[in-house]
Symmetry: C2
Subunit: 297 residues, 2 copies
């Protein structure tokens, strides 16, 4: 078992930020190959409104075409309708989300913050006994609409998610504005109130600070990190868009620190290859590119 | 005055690793625009054999076309012939180089390590009274031919360069294999023997660890960093090639830490734009790309 838990969010957070609709079979190949590359925790899709996120409209098909029992498969659920739709499939883990910011809740989920927690409560009422629930708290380092976010709002969100029954809370740097000093400031406070082993960090690499933020989080005791194969997500041509921290970069960092992972980096690079080719772009991960060059993949 | 000194090596270390020969006027525009973006220390070219590095064959023209008195202009000099050629121009600073590795010296400079130091000695005999000399020690984190490099070889190199008269020694992570733990291990030893204020770090971003290594070095007291505008250097299509740490990424990191620099990031991005267009590729710097998207440059 790895000391560090990596949660692969490429098939969901990565792909949902790609505007070009990817065929279902490419998505299922991607997920299967991620599993074969050694990823043990994969968020496979989201049962979200197809109008809100067209890329996830084949969620049901994706889940039918993969063997969810082979790995710790999780799915993002936004509301009551979503949890009901997910019932056709056997998920170990359900992911719910909210934010620190009233403005972000309004813009991104078309509801107020209290309504956002109400939705999570409704989802919880349909959770099976054998299912774990993971909570995402987004915009912890700041909100694109509200700006700075007070530490109290972060602590309130984490507290609520744990109180409702989440076993783990992922702190999301939604717009990639985190920095080592901000990480330190937030995690010092988090550690005063919560067990650090139950906290995950979810970084976007907008300004190339993802790995540095992982490092600072690791130094504070965090051992769970979200990342996306190849740094999928966002689009180099879309204003302000940004991808998740690349799983390759995260793994290379861990390898360099002699922190064991179960991941075969070459297979990981190959797992996202078909997707990048379909999207007509290259991975922005330096490690991905290095492996492509070195092995002529 | 900035707390951190940034040495812009794009026009030399960046460009010399680009195989497509760039017209002289693009190089001089690049250097002038780097200066206008606020860079105070720029290594403008190298008086090296045109056979060895065809990209630097216009060194004399480049130096004639820019006003070297406007900023701290430095030049890389490999040997006696190089220092003689440089005399036509008025440089504040001369850069010399050697390595920790006998194999690297043989392969890259076609001489033994003792001969490498002999060349530096010859260069020093032609240094003007008003000129400072900066020493590069490459492969401090390991050699592509010899593998691991003992800390004693690093200390020996730094000692020799200071003893010969260098005012500053830049430790080069030539192949981008540095990591926070390696940085810590080397700098702890360096600090036992030398003033940390005289040590610069020169990282390549092969595996996306450049900024993380800067952070670890900064924590150890280093305040001088080399970087290249846009992360120029290396080629995404050449096996194992890699660029320097991007100056944009370095500046963004420093800004995020409230460490003052004199650099205008938007102007910095514009400075390398023409070069990247000529090379037919995009900067691999996330900060560069973010600024291009945000300002539609």
């Amino acid at each position: 078992m790895s000391i560090v838990k990596i949660v692969e969010v490429g098939p969901r957070d990565g792909l949902q930020n790609e505007s070009k609709i990817i065929p279902t079979d490419l998505k299922t190949n991607f997920i299967n190959n991620l599993y074969k590359a050694g990823l043990e925790n994969i968020e496979v899709t989201s049962f979200v409104s197809p109008k809100a996120v067209p890329q996830m409209s084949d969620a049901d098909k994706v889940c039918s075409n993969i063997d969810l029992s082979k790995f710790n498969a999780s799915v993002l659920i936004p509301n009551l309708k979503g949890i009901k739709l997910s019932k056709r499939h056997d998920f170990n883990e359900i992911c719910v989300f909210t934010t620190t910011s009233e403005a972000f809740a309004n813009k991104n989920t078309k509801c107020s913050l209290p309504e956002s927690y109400q939705r999570i409560k409704e989802i919880f009422s349909h959770i099976e006994n054998n299912q774990k629930v993971r909570g995402y708290l987004s915009t912890v380092f700041g909100c694109p609409y509200e700006g700075d976010i007070s530490i109290d709002k972060v602590l309130y969100g984490v507290e609520k998610l744990f109180a409702m029954g989440c076993y783990e809370v992922a702190l999301g740097d939604t717009t990639g504005i985190g920095s080592p000093d901000k990480v330190l400031k937030i995690l010092e406070k988090i550690k005063e109130h919560f067990e650090i082993s139950k906290i995950a960090m979810h970084f976007h690499d907008t300004h190339g600070m993802g790995l540095l933020n992982v490092h600072s989080s690791y130094e504070q005791g965090v051992r769970v990190f979200d990342s996306s194969a190849g740094g999928l997500g966002g689009c180099p041509y879309a204003k302000g868009a940004s991808g998740n921290l690349a799983t390759e970069d995260l793994c290379h960092y861990l390898n360099e620190r002699n922190i064991k992972t179960s991941i075969d980096l070459k297979k990981l690079v190959q797992a996202s290859k078909e997707i990048f080719e379909f999207l007509g772009k290259s991975s922005m991960s330096k490690v991905n590119q290095y492996i492509v060059r070195s092995h002529e993949l």
